[in-house]
């Protein structure tokens, strides 16, 4: 259990900067998610924390002590890989006991068994990894990462190889286990749902930089940058670029270059912006409607499973000014400024 700090951490591969001078502090016992598209440097950051990659610059501190030059095996970090990376030549018990081989442990099998019980694979100890389902392999990988009571647990896209329902269960399971053991955890994922449901705090990364750090709510309601606004949320936010035409229709401050409105913040109304429906997509509980307007195409949600509209219908949509997010020319959010239908 440790407090982890990254100071100006940088990784350069042959001219390509994978991680660009990031600063981050992870508190003891915190569950932090690093969220970003593929190639944003999140896994590289994770492997630098594990000690598998050496940083090109900057420092990694565990409880205030610089660990840059400490080998992976001495950092006491547990890691769960996307592929689980179970050792195929060993059975489940041997897999879980593997990290204990390298420590002075008094009762390795008992500890391994206890951990297997915690992740609920107690009945599978004699099996080989190839005889396990994806979810079971996942649990074994988790047990193996946790058995040595690591300072830090790293999860590299741990759920992306599981099917949808299992992912839901494992999300809750991982949360339960990490909470029970109060281990500092960093989850790397490209799935925003995973990040926002599991983590105390989410770090959103893009092209090697941290775009925003905050709670799931911060990222959703108050995205710092255009990238975060666009990356978080499904269906994605409406981003309206303000050319002269759009400016004439809206009441917006001069600094604004782009206005964002979440699809669920737009409602059909008696008055407001006239739109023409182009597609109607029932999504179960809600219906996603895409419509053309003078502001460009807009997406909005109708809270009904039976759509009222069909393609070609003309209607009006409106929104509350406080639900809009205003971005300046550099793609940064301008706080406390909003847009309204003019």
């Amino acid at each position: 259990m440790a407090n982890v700090e990254l100071r100006n951490l940088t990784k350069v591969w042959d001219q390509v900067t994978a991680v660009d001078s990031i600063n981050l502090e992870i508190r003891d016992g915190e569950f932090l998610a690093v969220l970003g598209p593929s190639g944003c440097g999140k896994s590289t950051t994770l492997f630098m924390l594990a000690g598998v990659y050496l940083p090109s610059g900057g420092d990694i501190l565990f409880d205030g002590a610089r660990v840059n030059d400490v080998e992976a095996r001495s950092r006491n970090v547990g890691i769960v890989f996307q592929s689980y990376a179970l050792y195929p030549n060993m059975n489940v018990l041997q897999n879980i006991m593997f990290p204990l081989r390298f420590q002075e442990t008094r009762d390795a099998p008992a500890q391994a068994r206890e951990m297997a019980e915690l992740v609920q694979v107690g009945e599978l100890l004699e099996r080989r990894p190839s005889q396990l389902s994806g979810g079971q392999q996942q649990r074994v990988a988790l047990a193996r990462a946790l058995v040595k009571q690591p300072n830090l647990l790293l999860l590299d896209e741990p759920l992306s190889n599981l099917d949808a329902t299992l992912r839901l269960t494992m999300r809750a399971e991982i949360r339960r286990i990490t909470r029970e053991l109060a281990v500092t955890t960093i989850l790397v994922t490209h799935d925003q749902l995973e990040a926002t449901t599991m983590a105390d705090r989410v770090v959103c990364m893009n092209v090697g930089r941290i775009e925003q750090t905050g709670t799931a709510e911060d990222l959703y309601l108050r995205p710092d940058t255009l990238f975060v606004a666009g990356f978080i949320g499904s269906p994605p936010i409406n981003l309206i670029r303000l050319e002269n035409r759009q400016r004439a229709l809206l009441d917006v401050p001069d600094v604004a270059e782009t206005v964002g409105i979440r699809p669920e913040m737009l409602q059909s109304a008696e008055t407001g912006l006239p739109v023409t429906v182009t597609t109607v997509e029932p999504m179960g509980r809600e219906t996603l409607i895409t419509a053309d307007s003078n502001l460009g195409p807009l997406r909005f949600l109708e809270a009904t499973s039976r759509p009222k509209w069909s393609a070609g219908d003309k209607l009006h949509v409106s929104f509350r000014p406080q639900d809009t997010i205003v971005f300046d020319g550099a793609g940064q959010r301008v706080p406390d400024l909003h847009a309204a239908i003019g």
């Binding site: 592929s83 990376a85 050792y87 081989r101």
Partner: protein, 353 residues
């Protein structure tokens, strides 16, 4: 009515398909048996000669008589295998046929069989016994000397090949270094040249470093010849072991060497066994370099032993030649039979996940 008609049709179809399957199965067994005969018969003939030849000449009569018993037995079993469906019946029919065949062989050729051709195994002075001491001057060894020398050549070169190929294959698979791709291309180019083309330079090199007329000469040469290909094979096997697993072992507390030994090596076991078997057999049957790298009779291995037994100008005893051949084949054959599974993996080019 319609229902009844349909049911009748199903039964007919099922019966027809069962019959067709049996015919196909039977034909397949017959075909495989036929194509196996040209492969099996020469080996069988050598074996028959070794236990039946008396005068030193080749006699095919025993072979034909044995075949007259064995061929019908094999075909009879083929029929039994096709007709009987359950395993127990098949085993019983096989046992009965084997007993019948043994009885048949005992009656037809039993009197002609003897082990006199194998006397070289217990008699250290075979040549002197055959032609008197003058012929070989006592230089021709007991077969077990050659056998042990062959074992030394085969197993030492095998151990060297496996060790170097495994370590080099791992390094080539895992580490990026300047000239890596050129090195790999170089390995392949070496395969283009037949090693026999290099016999004279190799002879000179071995002569200059003073290993002529020692077993170390052929051991080193054989190792060098096989290494490029074996390194390539092992690189392929290591490529198939995911990085994740190694990184995982290292974060679990293993050093790189421990990770290699405990996690990576077990996964390339198939490759190691395959190159070990190939490497051993290559050393076991080597003739060219063991002959080229000795100037007199400084050492004997099985291939040179067999050559001298077969090349005797005073008149060849084919019975003895056949018996030596049988002894010579056995180790390769046993090894091959037990490790066949791993050798076929080679063509798959790596481990399956």
């Amino acid at each position: 009515m319609a229902v009844a008609k349909t049911q009748a049709d199903w039964e007919l179809l099922a019966r027809r398909s069962r019959r067709d399957r049996r015919i196909k199965h039977g034909l397949l067994i017959a075909f495989l048996t036929l194509v196996t005969i040209p492969v099996i018969v020469p080996f069988f003939w050598v074996f028959v000669i070794s236990i039946s030849a008396r005068t030193g000449g080749v006699e095919s009569e025993v072979l034909w008589r044995a075949c007259a018993i064995l061929v019908p037995t094999v075909f009879a079993y083929g029929v039994a295998h096709t007709v009987f469906r359950n395993t127990r019946q098949r085993i019983y029919s096989a046992l009965i046929l084997v007993l019948l065949a043994i009885a048949g062989l005992a009656i037809t050729v039993g009197d002609d069989l003897h082990l006199y051709n194998y006397r070289f195994m217990v008699n250290p002075n075979l040549v002197e016994e055959l032609r008197g001491a003058a012929t070989a001057g006592g230089q021709f060894p007991w077969i077990w000397v050659a056998f042990v020398n062959s074992l030394i050549v085969a197993s030492t070169s095998m151990a060297l090949k496996v060790t170097v190929a495994t370590l080099a294959g791992y390094y080539l698979s895992r580490f990026a270094f300047r000239g890596r791709s050129q090195f790999l291309q170089g390995l392949l180019i070496l395969e283009v040249f037949h090693p026999w083309m290099l016999t004279i330079p190799i002879f000179l090199v071995i002569f200059w470093i003073g290993l002529l007329n020692t077993l170390a000469g052929p051991i080193l040469v054989l190792t060098a010849i096989d290494l490029p290909f074996f390194i390539f094979i092992m690189k392929g096997f290591f490529d198939a072991v995911p990085w994740d697993i190694e990184m995982s072992a290292m974060t679990d507390g293993a050093s790189r060497r421990q990770a290699f030994r405990t996690v990576v090596l077990p996964q390339v076991r198939g490759g190691i066994i395959a190159i070990a078997v190939l490497g051993f057999i290559k050393g076991w049957e080597e003739y060219v370099f063991v002959t080229a790298l000795r100037t007199g009779n400084s050492y004997w291995v099985m291939s040179t032993y067999l050559y001298y037994v077969a090349e005797d100008v005073m008149g060849v005893d084919y019975g003895v030649v056949a018996a030596v051949s049988v002894i010579y084949i056995i180790p390769s054959l046993v090894l091959y039979l037990f490790c066949q599974k791993f050798l076929t993996q080679l063509t798959l080019g790596g481990v399956k996940g």
